[in-house]
């Protein structure tokens, strides 16, 4: 079956002289092919997912029972800090960039990304950045331990690791900015002739918006950490009260970056489920254009809500009211998206393959995280919840069954297109159920812990919190080891074990990526494809 498809493809492109990839390590180090770079991004982020995840397990092991068992508090703080930095900048963001590399050219009918050499750079900077960051674990004074938010003056007490932390954040920022520019230029300039902006699939749309967010806020983060660096080494006083500076200003700068950052991590996941739910409901996406406007509104609002992270720093009532109401307003476009996904499924002829299961898990559990976010947005409530485990529960609900489930769904959905082979459906579903059960066992008790008053970033706790902490630790260990199953399933596909995938892969899915053979050939769309009602929104 697949040979027939391949033959058909060869006939289409008979004029092309396809050299294929270079041999050996050169293929990867000098990679300019969007599929190779996409694969490298995805593999790198999977490695970082396990690296950061193992730190989470160190944290949860220490918190299994009250008292200090295994690690000292200083190392505990290093673990919470490094876990966050690695998961945010090393796992979630590169994974979505990997998906963008693989899928955006295939979805808009472009032969490759617009700036392939910059693409190579933006990937290869990442292993360097994370080698630098990981090396701080072995430095005098240990790894950064100030929390990923790097608030001064605490972060200035970091030992030798401090300049390495700043430099690695700079590198991650440069990589993200280059990736974002590449995505924007590709989408603006490389679309197939009839692919107008509003015909683009939602995944492309959400990535376009994400790329603009990245471009707007990563330089601000770079600026913020540069000021930390000059405060520490060059005698400036941006954040030092003694010299007339203000440490709270760093929080404003950080969260001006930080809040759009959380949408950078979730908008592409919105795009992914907007692709998957229509396919497995066998209906077109409900309200495509309203989804576009909703995502744009979320992106806009993300710039005017940052101080809801700072309600306890002391803020006048009008400020608190403004940031509270602007934050609550985000529920409106987010609600539009959630209801559109539900309307897409309404009276659809639904089936529940693994990508759909992960998308549905995303829909339910991300919404729980959204609701706890609304609770945190309410000023008087936030002053009680601030820096408690309730916050930990909230952002893990939007990041793990949100962003991570979105990524898992995307991998299951597109891996037959990438490798040409189906994953093992049975194992995929087992992976889904293990992940979903354990993610709730891990993070749901944290709501109760937070409401009962357990502070975050603390290696020891009062015995009243013991039971829920034990449950959360069991869940974390279960979730962590369940992900080994994911690795097994993915590598079975890569090793060409499993059912052979057709060109369409799924039952009549919409989009240009399903018009190329499975696995997608090294070069696709050398001549721009025809955009029809079958392959694009109209």
């Amino acid at each position: 079956m697949s040979t027939a498809v391949l033959d058909g493809h060869a006939a289409d492109d008979s004029s092309e002289h396809d050299h294929g990839p270079a041999k050996g390590w050169r293929r990867w180090l000098y990679a300019t092919n969007h599929k190779d770079i996409g694969s490298m991004y995805l593999i790198f982020s999977l490695l970082m997912f396990f690296f950061g995840g193992s730190m989470a397990l160190v944290i949860r092991t220490e918190l299994f029972t009250p008292g200090l068992q295994f690690i000292d508090p200083a190392f505990f703080n290093q673990m919470t800090t490094m876990h966050a930095l690695i998961m945010v900048f090393g796992a979630v963001m590169p994974a979505f960039v990997g998906l963008a590399n693989w899928m955006i050219p295939l979805m808009i009918g472009a032969p490759d990304m617009a700036l392939p050499r910059m693409n190579n750079w933006s990937f290869w900077i990442l292993p360097v950045a994370f080698t630098i960051l990981a090396s701080t674990l072995f430095m005098p004074g240990g790894a950064p331990a100030s929390g990923w938010t790097m608030y001064p003056p605490l972060v200035l007490q970091t030992g030798d690791a401090f300049p390495f932390l700043i430099f690695s954040v700079h590198l991650m920022g440069i990589s993200s900015i280059m990736g974002a520019i590449n995505v924007i230029v590709t989408i603006i300039n490389m679309r197939a002739p009839d692919m107008s902006l509003l015909k683009m699939p939602m995944f492309v749309w959400t990535w376009l918006i994400t790329a603009y967010l990245l471009l707007a806020v990563m330089p601000v983060l770079a600026g913020g950490v540069t000021m930390l660096l000059t405060d520490q080494f060059f005698g400036t006083s941006f954040f030092l009260a003694a010299g007339g500076g203000d440490p709270v200003m760093f929080q404003h700068i950080f969260w001006f970056f930080g809040h759009p950052e959380v949408y950078i991590m979730i908008l592409p996941a919105f795009g992914v489920v907007s692709e998957i739910i229509p396919t497995f409901s066998r209906k077109p996406l409900f309200g495509h254009d309203s989804m576009v406007y909703a995502a744009s509104s979320i992106a806009f609002l993300s710039f005017i809500v940052w101080a809801h992270h700072m309600f306890t720093t002391g803020m006048p009532l009008t400020g608190q009211m403004f940031f509270m109401f602007s934050t609550l307003l985000i529920a409106v476009p987010t609600g539009v998206k959630v209801f559109n996904w539900m309307a897409t499924m309404w009276k659809g002829s639904m089936t529940f393959e693994t990508p759909m299961l992960f998308s549905l898990g995303f829909l339910f559990l991300f919404t729980i995280g959204g609701f706890s976010g609304l609770m945190l947005a309410i000023v008087p409530a936030d002053i009680q919840y601030h820096d408690s485990y309730f916050v930990v529960a909230h952002f893990h609900y939007v990041l793990v069954p949100g962003s991570i489930f979105g990524l898992m769904a995307a991998v299951y959905y597109w891996i037959p297109k990438w490798t040409g082979y189906f994953y093992n459906e049975r194992l995929g579903q087992i992976h889904f159920w293990l992940s979903t059960i354990f993610v709730n066992v891990t993070f749901f008790p944290m709501h109760f812990l937070g409401l009962a008053g357990m502070p975050r970033r603390i290696p020891d706790y009062s015995t009243q919190f013991a039971d829920f902490n034990s449950i959360a630790s069991i869940g974390a260990i279960g979730f962590g080891f369940s992900q080994l199953l994911f690795v097994y399933i993915v590598f079975q596909c890569v090793r060409k074990k499993g059912a052979v995938a057709t060109q369409e892969v799924w039952d009549n899915p919409q989009g240009l990526e399903w018009t190329v053979p499975s696995p997608a050939p090294y070069h696709t769309f050398d001549t721009p494809p025809k955009v029809t009602a079958e392959t694009a929104f109209s």
Partner: protein
């Protein structure tokens, strides 16, 4: 989203534009946000900062009908070798009246040292009504080895102070700025360079 006629822009021009935008955001973060933040805080009085210089054109006319409780808080930053406390911890004042409060500091080392006190007023809304005519916090203070100093702050709390405020806390944090007065110069921006790198540690 933003480009209505995308085909009219070449890849290189678009890339250059986007790079310029990113660079602009960096400049915005480092060179625009901090000064804007300072001006914003000064205008609104948010952050509880009082003015770093003597107030002018203030006439002391005490409003005897109203009493305020004024509390003093002192902190020494990062276990620096200083003893620092208010002479009295609490006083009752009338808005509009001229008062003086004394603070006592001692250099606990056997070296010449310099310190800078940084004030803060709570509630923040009171900061702009707290007018200082003279304060030891206006400049760095030099101390001989083991020296004890009594340092005054003379102030008027403006009688326009909002009615809901009946207690004001004035806090000073004492920062050790090193051994010489050069280090005590307050670096405001990067122009001061690396020579005072350890001045603020």
């Amino acid at each position: 989203m933003s480009n209505k006629k995308p085909e009219s822009v070449s890849t290189n021009a678009l890339t250059a534009r986007l790079l310029l935008f990113a660079a602009g955001m960096f400049v915005f973060g480092v060179f625009v946000l901090p000064p804007v933040y300072d001006v914003f805080c000064e205008v609104t009085g948010l952050g509880g900062k009082t003015k770093g210089q003597a107030a002018e054109n203030v006439v002391a006319v005490a409003d005897e009908s109203r009493e305020l409780s004024l509390e003093f808080v002192t902190t020494v930053n990062q276990y620096a070798p200083w003893e620092f406390r208010p002479a009295v911890e609490k006083m009752t004042i009338h808005p509009g009246g001229l008062y003086e409060a004394m603070f006592v500091a001692q250099n606990l080392t056997d070296q010449f040292r310099v310190a800078q006190a940084v004030p803060s007023v709570a509630p923040a809304q009171a900061a702009s009504y707290f007018k200082k005519l003279d304060c030891f916090c206006f400049s760095a203070q030099e101390f001989l080895p083991g020296e004890v100093k009594e340092m005054p702050v003379r102030f008027i709390v403006d009688s326009d102070l909002p009615d809901f405020i009946d207690t004001i806390t004035l806090s000073y944090t004492f920062f050790d700025t090193g051994g010489t007065t050069d280090d005590a110069a307050m670096p405001e921006n990067m122009d001061h360079g690396a020579d005072s790198a350890h001045g603020t540690r």
